[in-house]
């Protein structure tokens, strides 16, 4: 009985979560007429034209590659630096910790508007506007605060004795960080990394301003299907589906790595 209720709840959740996705995917393989019909057309002849169009579009493919490069490198940098900083912070006294954390969180507050304009002018001077590293640097910078505060949370759950034990065993700080904290907080690291990747993968405004032809990322590319003469629904939804797919697979793969109750048995008391 409880089991059934549980599965019903899960099913309801999945339906709510997936409905818009269903709509997007369905639209991408529907004719325009079917897509906008009310009552909705549930049975239709799928058409793959939109995918053909999107996939044969060099701009879209390049944007895809750009997004992969930018979001993965930037997120990796952000999580790496964030993890290092969080490791340093978690050893400090409560006041040092909370002061730094407040500062870090306050960095996330600034709306993109504030730094995009100065960055644009600076990058224009340095002729970096068509350079992946500009985007990577900006994205890494804005994700570091998030990474620090999340990882600080996960690191705080690691018993202090583990660090003590590693020190006694002769580990240097970096080794403790690398061999003990990172693996033990793996679930948190993965979750944080996923979020950083998604934040950058989907970021539109900064990308719009700071990318050039060679560095344009997917959100900008996709948004170009919004013309003032209407939305090109077919290609847009097809592109959106293609954009989501790798992230979902990635999400599934990496989340499988998480072991629950990792620290169980490590400490008595």
């Amino acid at each position: 009985m409880r089991k059934i209720a549980f599965y019903v709840l899960i099913a309801a959740l999945v339906v709510v979560v997936l409905f818009p996705l269903y709509w997007v995917v369905a639209t991408s393989i529907k004719s325009i007429r079917d897509a906008f019909a009310i009552p909705p057309v549930w049975l239709f002849e799928p058409t793959w034209d939109n995918y053909g169009r999107v996939l044969s579009n060099g701009v879209f493919l390049r944007a895809f590659v750009n997004s992969v490069i930018v979001s993965f490198i930037a997120s990796t940098i952000a999580v790496t630096i964030g993890a290092l900083a969080a490791y340093g912070l978690v050893q400090q006294s409560d006041t040092v910790k909370s002061n730094n954390e407040k500062f870090v969180l306050s960095l996330r507050i600034a709306p993109p508007l504030i730094f995009v304009i100065p960055t644009y002018f600076l990058a224009a001077q340095l002729k970096l506007l068509n350079n992946h590293w500009l985007l990577i640097a900006v994205y890494a910078f804005i994700n570091i605060p998030f990474a620090i505060s999340m990882l600080l949370t996960f690191f705080e759950d690691i018993p202090r004795e583990l660090r003590d034990a590693a020190k006694v065993d002769g580990a240097r700080e970096f080794t403790i960080f690398w061999e003990v904290f990172l693996p033990v907080a793996k679930g948190g690291i993965i979750a944080t990394l996923i979020m950083c990747v998604l934040f950058t993968w989907n970021e539109f405004f900064i990308a719009l301003v700071l990318t050039g032809r060679d560095t344009q990322t997917l959100p900008v590319s996709i948004t170009s299907f919004l013309t003032f003469q209407g939305v090109q629904w077919g290609p847009l939804t097809a592109a959106a589906t293609l954009v989501m797919l790798p992230m979902l697979i990635l999400g599934m793969l990496v989340q499988g790595q998480i072991v629950r109750g990792m620290s169980l048995g490590s400490i008595k008391g």
């Binding site: 959740l13 490791y87 730094n100 954390e101 969180l105 507050i109 600034a110 948004t223 989340q255 109750g261």
Partner: protein
């Protein structure tokens, strides 16, 4: 003594981030005391605090601020509660857990522009799914996005849909990191599942939830894509937040200085709020 090594881990990062933020802040402040417009290159002058004075009496800005607060509080609150509930629901072993976990990510994975368009379409009064479903169960059409009373809440729904998974993902990660022993002990001690949750699990998740909440709050204040795509602040400004107003001032009116003034004030106000929340919520625990 042994602390020296650990400070090396965060000091350089903090110093670098601090330096960058100081430079940017000073630069932005410098821009806000002029009247720079992208359409009048070279014509800017120093105008002191005029932009700030202008914002102080800008009814549009002030009501946008109120709306921002309302939206942020509602979005953060609902997303936290909902996200936590879903995380707890999923925090057990069942067939298909991995798939469900990945599917939960769908809303954040979806490009925000597409999310906005999708919801805008679903909220379409005549051909949208929302009203279609209502009509199936016998309710009249709701003017989701065209009514000044409803539009903000429609956006809220879309925002909740998109960002609750963020809370779910991070909460699940925290839940998974818990040792699990104290929960067992509480069950032995006669706690019902909700009591285990309330007395043991939640306190242990407290910090994670707070951080997630703070980040969600900060991001809701800055919410942009959904607003921009779905209503652009309309109808009758009923969904214009301060951040959106700043964006419009910058990229529709090209009034860079005023836009940055808005953004700066928003940043300062948010910072003040953050410090207050932080002071309340993260009261440092006793040493140990």
């Amino acid at each position: 003594m042994t602390k020296d090594a650990t400070t090396l881990f965060y000091r350089p990062v903090m110093v670098f981030m601090g330096a960058v933020s100081v430079v940017v802040t000073v630069y932005v402040l410098w821009l806000t005391v002029q009247n720079i417009s992208l359409l009048r290159p070279g014509a800017q002058q120093f105008i002191g605090l005029d932009n700030y004075a202008r914002l102080l009496f800008d009814m549009r800005g002030l009501s946008a601020l109120g709306r921002t607060v309302l939206f942020t509080v509602l979005a953060t609150g609902i997303e936290l509660v909902l996200g936590l509930s879903i995380a707890l629901l999923l925090d057990r072993e069942f067939a298909g857990k991995r798939v469900v976990r990945a599917l939960i990510l769908v809303p954040i994975v979806m490009t925000p522009v597409v999310v906005g368009l999708t919801w805008r379409f679903m909220f379409d009064p005549s051909s949208g799914m929302a009203n279609y479903l209502l009509s199936v169960i016998g309710f009249g059409p709701v003017d989701w996005l065209g009514s000044t009373n409803v539009a903000l809440f429609s956006l809220l729904i879309a925002d909740i849909w998109q960002w609750t998974p963020f809370v779910v993902l991070l909460t699940m990660a925290s839940l998974e990191a818990l040792p699990g022993d104290p929960q067992s002990a509480a069950r032995v001690d006669g706690a019902r599942e909700w009591q285990v949750l309330w007395h043991i699990t939640l306190p242990m998740l407290q910090r994670a939830l707070l951080v997630v909440g703070v980040i969600r709050a900060i991001d809701s204040i800055k919410a942009f894509d959904i607003f921009y795509i779905m209503t652009r602040g309309g109808p009758a400004l009923s969904t214009e937040t301060l951040n959106l107003y700043g964006y419009i001032a910058a990229f529709t009116n090209f009034d860079i200085s005023y836009a940055l003034t808005i953004a700066m004030v928003l940043t300062i106000l948010t910072n003040v709020a953050l410090l207050a929340v932080y002071g309340l919520a993260f009261r440092p625990k006793k040493s140990g």
